[in-house]
Amino acid sequence: MAMNYNAKDEVDGGPPCAPGGTAKTRRPDNTAFKQQRLPAWQPILTAGTVLPIFFIIGLIFIPIGIGIFVTSNNIREIEIDYTGTEPSSPCNKCLSPDVTPCICTINFTLEKSFEGNVFMYYGLSNFYQNHRRYVKSRDDSQLNGDSSALLNPSKECEPYRRNEDKPIAPCGAIANSMFNDTLELFLIGNDSYPVPITLKKKGIAWWTDKNVKFRNPPGGDNLEERFKGTTKPVNWLNPVYVLDSDPDNNGFINEDFIVWMRTAALPTFRKLYRLIERKSDLHPTLPAGRYSLNITYNYPVHYFDGRKRMILSTISWMGGKNPFLGIAYIAVGSISFLLGVVLLVINHKYRNSSNTADITI
């Protein structure tokens, strides 16, 4: 006679306990929660609710899609590949590492003028900025101006943590591989003398990055002094404190550096390089015409079949040129609408066949 000896049962199961506790019953509480009758809404997918949803979604998505599509199409964008792997390219000479510095010029024509602010991007292809080994190879404490991290960078930065016994600032593979081509833009007017176009260096990074995430190490006024005891990344030509002459755009808070450090999601990406601000409402920022792009070619990508591009683009309320979203919206909207129609037909066909009659009791 196996039994489960439970001391508690012995206590409350035994009749010898004096019948004193009769006032307290073990009756469960009659509350809506305990009796599982909380007021509830019990939605069911009936034709009355489902079909309108599909139609409404169709009716909303299609106009949105068209809106996005039109907006996207109105954006002016020009892309110039200057990798130079083709022998005909002016930059072909720069592929050899012997030529330093190598400057090449590419001419191009804008068929239509670019209105409003124009953004200048550089684009890289087949560059795995999202590779795990690459992504983690940075020290955010150091970049945030932590002085102990400055002199003793995180292990994640290996093998770009120390060079010749000096800590590297900024450490890590991301910083080490920073994009270092210089791009200049000239408008070739009727005169033979090209007019340089003002490229704004600042205002290309997120405010939070520039002001929160990236900070120069504390110390004296002199940036060089603040970075004392550190050395430049292996691949860099200059130390971090001479990235720019403007003290507000130098060191870790150099915006080109910040932009580079915000790694891309995909192996083909663009990064904002310069701003071309609109000067007046009357004149287009970049009028149609011939332009020339001057490249100081430093960054080698042909080893891994990468490409380098320069992109000029205007911007709309929803960002840059992006045909995908518009088409996707139109497609989903249409499918939803169609599905609505199909469901309507099916529902009509089956409506009469389900009655309570065939509920088995």
Partner: protein, 1246 residues
């Protein structure tokens, strides 16, 4: 209850089931007991006892030595067992019990150890260790640690709460007090300080603190009454009696203090009813048996005080030895879930391996040339691939849902509480709420195929009431007034004219009272006189109140009825009986009691009236009485008709008759009777023969009809459950006729049911076996099993099988014989081989036969049979069906433990069935609510929960997989680490938990009204491998959408302000936001019962996600921990962009719209039962008025079932004639009218 024990006393020794076959043996134990008891006759008591004393006790077993009043003795070194290297411990446990598992110091290590024994937790621990290896650590350490700590913490808290409760209870019990002899005096001591060898004193209503030998008590002969409800669930009192010598000499404190007896007995064991030992005292040895032992857990009753010697204490006591044997039950879904987790594990390994190969290839093709990826290590691509394999194991680990097990536990705990809280399963009369005693089986309640129900106390109330009678051909008991007019509404008969009436009998026939009082028909008075005189009931008078102790409730009901009708049985001595006949007391000499047994099916009494006439009164089953009637009986036919009517009303009938005996004839017979009584061989047969001689030429008086009252709502519940396609087997030890009767009463059987009996089945099985053998049957294991039905299709069939037939059918008898054969030692190798071969053949045959039997029985809608555990086990084994056993008594414990789910009927005092059950409630009718409402809800909740859980983890995890194609298979995650950490814990857990707790597709009323819903659960339709893979596919597709739509949007996009186009962090935030919104809306779609809590949790989870994300991405937290929180500003910058919102909206829409469409389509084209009911919910609600169709009883006269109103135990005749228990002084028995016990007789015998 004890009287209706489901065991057959008619078995000969051979037909008893074999212990080896039945996993537990309590049924058999009772059989043995009964047999033991019934073979001893009063006349032989003395001889037997002497024989027993002379018998050599089992020497070799008796190694347990106890010396009274000598604690030092038990501390001797040779009683020490080495526990650890040098720590020695006495083999005598002390009386403190310890059911708790941990103490303050051991809690953390022991609990952690216990938890890491579970595979899932160990898996995450290993992951954590893997993450600590820098080469392969792809995720931050906290991504696994935080959820793991949470899971461990929740479980640990639950364990802690449980253990604290156990500590409390232990303390309470250990600190109870009783009186122990110390330094020559009785002193109050705590239970925990009691030791083996102590002499203790117990008072009335005390719990017995240990297993003690009864030395003496305040009662004559040192009798002691105990209630053993804790142990075996029987509420009747049992008698224990001390040895004569201890009774004589050990009454006083000083003698007890100097008592120096020495006991040798068996080692502690768990047999509650067995004890062998010897007491050595005063240079004499005395045998000890179980009748002298009071077991821990019993309660002393009706005995002012008693003294005992502690033999087993604490953990050695029989009740403790019995504990901890509970089988760990797991549900079907548990097993399924485990297999699914293994499946996922395999998928995980395969995916990781594939991606690792991809990585090795990529490194060789691209990575090696990408100078910016240089990491200073000269690893080969294949080695990098190998490292990445582990990296991906870590990244994709969330495919195996970490919080799955703990969430399942939480949900089940919640379900159990809902069962405990259910008012509609609360029985106010006994203040008993339903109780889920195990919290791990709830969803199994929705999948029951077979219910095995005990009859007595479960289907019936075990209350017999006198309903009708037939006197002299005239039927009494309908609603009618004194002038024989029938009325529907008539007041109950007023028994106030009778001083002895107990006022509890509800009777509506005023005409019968009129007849008794007028005395017009002498038979009427004689009828009740017979009832008052012909029985073996014992009476007990307290404060003028009569209390009857009957061997069977039927008998009690009859004597009680007679008392109410004015013929009160007042007292009996060894050879007289006193009756109050309508106020006048008369004493009759009892000349002989011809006791009942199950072969005779009748009992008679021969009395001498004060006038000097000798009369025989007899009552018994109609079949046996009719054979013995005098040819001239005018009312034979009328009574027969009345019996048919009674039987149709499912009443239990009994025929009454009498005859006058002449003095000479009696004297002659008495001689033979005396001779037979002292016969040394075949005494029973000799007596039966003598009885037969006098019980003839009887004159029929009439018949009684007793109602074996069903519990409320039993037929309704059974028909409801039958509609849910649950097959109900009633397991009872009743005779065929009684079983049939009860079957009709509960509407298990109806007129159109074909009933098959043991012999039919046996022949069917024989035929089948022949068939199979001809086809190569038993031995051709590779032949495809023939699955042809035993019966032609259609029609309702029921089986009624008695115990002996069941044994016959299952070939139990034959194995027994083979066992006897085996006892002879095989001489040669040849012989041995032959024997094993024949044994194997027999086993195979038996198995085949059992399989066939189960197959046959399962074709029938109803089965009524006995032998509970074995039947349950058979069905469980061969049918692979989910079984539920319900019962109330100790004899049901076995089947309750064997079945997948055991239900105990609580509220009775007996606790044992409840203690071993998984669920308990007070009334059988609550079973329908437990299964159809709680079971169904638990099932759909658990299924929905699991489906969603697998879906949400796949949708979440596989995004990494798709992303790996775009990041060089480098195990880069698609989300922020903190999101991975919190996703399962915070962002997606609460809504699904709440759905698992609160969801209901149809209301409780509707699910009771449409039991057809239940079939879904039985067939595993809501969660099976197909559903699982559909969920996984859903998850895979969702993850694809979640990844590829943002990918499309990010291929070439820039922000509104031209900044940071398509950076990784914004991408991660976009996917994560879309994911959180999608899975939370998806659970919204899955939830069919939206309470405000659900709505709150769904929108709350989404809000929580955004809230936490904005915090983690805030400037403040970055300044504090720049390296830990790297996504600074991402949320605010990314979610400012309209195109990111447009992407999220599109993604969510594409994820959910197809689901809506598919659900709608399947509801329209292939609506499930539940869908239909939901759709028409409003209309169904409108027709509130719904009533069970009253099934009209119209059964032909031909189907007469005569039942005899005796339970199959012998009466108290021996006890009465021996006179031992008829005592002058008797303390009030606070129990038990009409619930007698065989224990009386046993005590008398011993």
């Amino acid at each position: 209850m004890s009287t209706e024990r489901d065991s057959e006393t008619t078995f000969d020794e051979d037909s008893q089931p074999n212990d080896e076959v039945v996993p537990y043996s309590d049924d058999e134990t009772e059989d043995e007991l009964d047999d033991q008891g019934s073979t001893v006759e009063p006349e032989q008591n003395r001889i037997n006892r002497e024989a027993e004393e002379n018998r050599e006790p089992f020497r070799k077993e008796c190694t347990w030595q106890v010396k009274a009043n000598d604690r030092k003795y038990h501390e001797q070194p040779h009683f020490m067992n080495t526990k650890f290297f040098c720590i020695k411990e006495s083999k005598y446990a002390n009386n403190a019990i310890k059911t708790y598992k941990y103490n303050a110091f051991t809690f953390i290590p022991m609990n952690l150890f216990e938890q890491f024994k579970r595979a899932a937790n160990l898996y995450f621990l290993i992951l954590l260790i893997l993450q600590a290896i820098p080469q392969i650590s792809t995720l931050a350490w906290y991504t696994t640690l935080v959820p793991l700590l949470l899971v461990l913490g929740v479980t640990a808290i639950k364990d802690l709460v449980d253990d604290v409760a156990r500590h409390k209870m232990d303390k309470e019990i250990n600190n109870r007090t009783c009186e122990v002899i110390k330094d020559g005096r009785f002193k109050v001591a705590k239970w925990k300080d009691i030791q083996v060898g102590d002499v203790i004193r117990l008072k009335k209503n005390d719990f017995v603190p240990a297993d003690i030998l009864l030395l003496s008590s305040s009662e004559p002969n040192s009798l002691c009454y105990v209630e053993t409800a804790e142990l075996d669930g029987e509420t009747n009192l049992k008698f224990k009696m001390s040895l004569e010598i201890t009774d004589q000499y050990l009454q006083r404190e000083d003698t007890l203090a100097t008592f120096d007896g020495f006991i040798e007995c068996e080692e502690p064991n768990n047999r509650l009813d067995k004890f062998t030992g010897t007491l050595f005292w005063r240079n004499t040895s005395f045998p000890l048996d179980a009748d002298k032992i009071l077991l821990r857990g019993c309660v002393i009753r009706n005995t002012d005080f008693c003294h005992g010697l502690v033999i087993f204490a604490g953990a050695d006591t029989k009740i403790m030895k019995n504990s901890g044997k509970t089988r760990f039950k797991r549900t079907k879904i548990d097993y399924l879930m485990n297999y699914m987790v293994y499946t996922i594990f395999v998928v995980l390994t395969l995916l990781s391996a594939g991606l690792a190969i991809g990585h090795a290839y990529w490194e060789a093709q691209v990575g090696n040339y990408s100078w910016y990826l240089y990491d200073g290590e000269d690893d080969t691509p294949s080695y990098r691939g190998f490292l990445n394999f582990w990296g991906y194991i870590i990244v994709l680990n969330t495919m195996v849902p970490i919080s799955l097990y703990v969430s399942v536990e939480v949900i089940r705990l919640g379900q159990s509480h809902f069962i405990n809280w259910d008012l509609q399963m609360y029985y106010a009369e006994k203040d008993t709420p339903a109780k889920a005693r195990t919290t791990t089986l709830n969803e199994q309640l929705g999948q029951i195929h077979y219910i095995f129900s005990d009859k007595t106390g479960t289907l019936t109330q075990n209350i017999m009431t006198f309903k009708k009678c037939c006197i002299n051909g005239q039927i009494y008991g309908d609603h009618r007034d004194a002038s024989q007019h029938n009325h529907n509404k008539i007041e109950q008969v007023d028994f106030s004219w009778n001083t002895y009436a107990d006022g509890k009998l509800a009777f509506y026939d005023h005409y019968l009272i009129e007849q008794i009082q007028s005395g017009k028909e002498p038979e009427v008075r004689q009828f009740f006189f017979l009832l008052a005189v012909c029985h073996t009931v014992m009476v007990d008078r307290t404060d003028g109140q009569l209390n009857y102790q009957a061997a069977s409730p039927d008998e009690g009901a009859l004597v009680n009825a007679a008392r109410n009708f004015g013929f009160a049985f007042l007292a009996r001595t060894q050879n007289t009986i006193t009756i109050s006949e309508l106020g006048t007391e008369r004493t009759y000499n009892v000349l002989a009691i011809l006791d009942f047994n199950s072969d005779r099916k009748r009992m008679s009494i021969i009395v001498r009236t004060p006038e000097g006439n000798i009369k025989l009164y007899c009552k018994g089953a109609d079949t046996v009485i009719y054979e013995r009637l005098h040819r001239m009986n005018p009312t034979k036919q009328e009574t027969q008709d009345a019996l048919d009517i009674f039987a149709n009303e499912t009443l239990r009938t009994l025929c009454l008759c009498y005859k006058e005996i002449e003095e000479k004839q009696f004297a002659e017979w008495n001689k033979k009777f005396m001779a037979a009584s002292v016969a040394s061989t075949n005494r029973d047969e000799a007596l039966d023969k003598v009885y037969e001689e006098i019980e003839k030429d009887l004159i029929l008086l009439g018949a009684t009809a007793i109602e074996d009252k069903l519990q409320d709502g039993v037929p309704e519940t059974i028909s409801k459950l039958a509609k849910a396609d649950i097959k109900i087997w009633v397991l009872t030890g009743d005779k065929k006729e009684t079983a049939e009767n009860i079957g009709f009463a509960c509407e298990l059987l109806t007129e159109d049911t074909t009933i098959c009996y043991g012999e039919d089945i046996n022949s069917l099985l024989h035929a089948r076996m022949e068939n199979q053998r001809n086809r190569g049957g038993v031995y051709a294991k590779f032949a495809p099993p023939v699955q042809e039905p035993f019966f032609p299709p259609g029609g309702n069939r029921a089986l009624i099988i008695t115990g002996s037939w069941l044994n016959e059918i299952l070939l139990e008898k034959k194995t027994k014989r083979s066992k006897i054969l085996k006892l002879k030692f095989p001489r040669t190798e040849e012989e041995r081989r032959m024997r094993t071969q024949s044994k194997r053949r027999l086993e195979a045959k038996k198995e085949q036969r059992q399989k066939n039997f189960v197959g046959l029985a399962c074709e029938c809608s109803t089965v009524i049979c006995c032998h509970k555990a074995i039947v349950v086990d058979l069905v469980k084994r061969y049918k692979k069906a989910i079984t539920l056993a319900i019962g109330d008594g100790a004899n049901d414990v076995n089947m309750i433990k064997t079945a997948h789910i055991g239900v105990g009927i609580s509220g009775q005092e007996g606790m044992q069935a409840v203690m071993s059950s998984d669920y308990s409630f007070a009334q059988f009718r609550y079973l329908q609510r437990l299964l159809l409402v709680h079971g169904w809800w638990s099932y759909i909740r658990m299924c929905k929960f699991l489906r969603y859980f697998f879906y949400k983890n796949f949708a979440f995890t596989l995004v990494h997989f798709w992303y790996s194609f775009f990041n060089g298979y480098s195990a880069q995650t698609a989300y922020e680490d903190w999101f991975i950490t919190l996703y399962n814990v915070l962002y997606s857990s609460l809504p699904v938990l709440l759905m698992g707790l609160l969801d209901q597709d149809v209301s409780d009323k509707l699910s009771l009204r449409f039991p057809g819903l239940y079939i879904v659960g039985q067939r595993d339709l809501l969660f099976n491998y197909k559903r699982f893979f559909v969920s996984l596919l859903h998850g895979v597709l969702t993850s694809m959408i979640l990844f590829f739509i943002p990918l499309g949007a990010y291929l070439q996009t820039v922000g509104q302000d031209g900044e940071a186009p398509s950076d990784y962090q914004s991408f991660a935030v976009t996917i994560a936001s879309a994911l959180v919104i999608t899975v939370n809306f998806q659970i919204g779609l899955d939830t069919s019962y939206w309470t405000f809590v659900n709505a709150f949790s769904i929108f709350g989870s989404i809000a929580l996600y955004f809230g936490i994300m904005f915090d983690i991405h805030s400037a403040g937290i970055h300044v504090l921990f720049p390296s830990t929180f790297q996504f600074t500003g991402t949320a605010s910058n990314a979610l400012r962009q309209p195109y990111i919102w447009l992407t999220i909206i599109l993604t969510v829409a594409v994820c959910l719209l197809p689901v809506v469409a598919i659900r709608f389509l399947s509801m329209t084209i292939w609506p499930s039962e539940s869908d239909k009911i939901q759709k028409h919910r409003k209309r169904l609600k409108a027709e509130e008025q719904w009533q069970r169709r009253q099934q009209v009883f119209c059964r032909g006269v031909s189907s007469r079932r005569s039942a005899y109103a005796f339970s199959h135990q012998r009466g108290y005749a021996d006890l009465i004639s021996s006179g031992r228990s008829i005592r002058k002084k008797r303390s009030p028995l606070d129990a038990i009218v009409a619930d007698g016990t065989a224990e009386y007789r046993r005590t008398g015998d011993s």
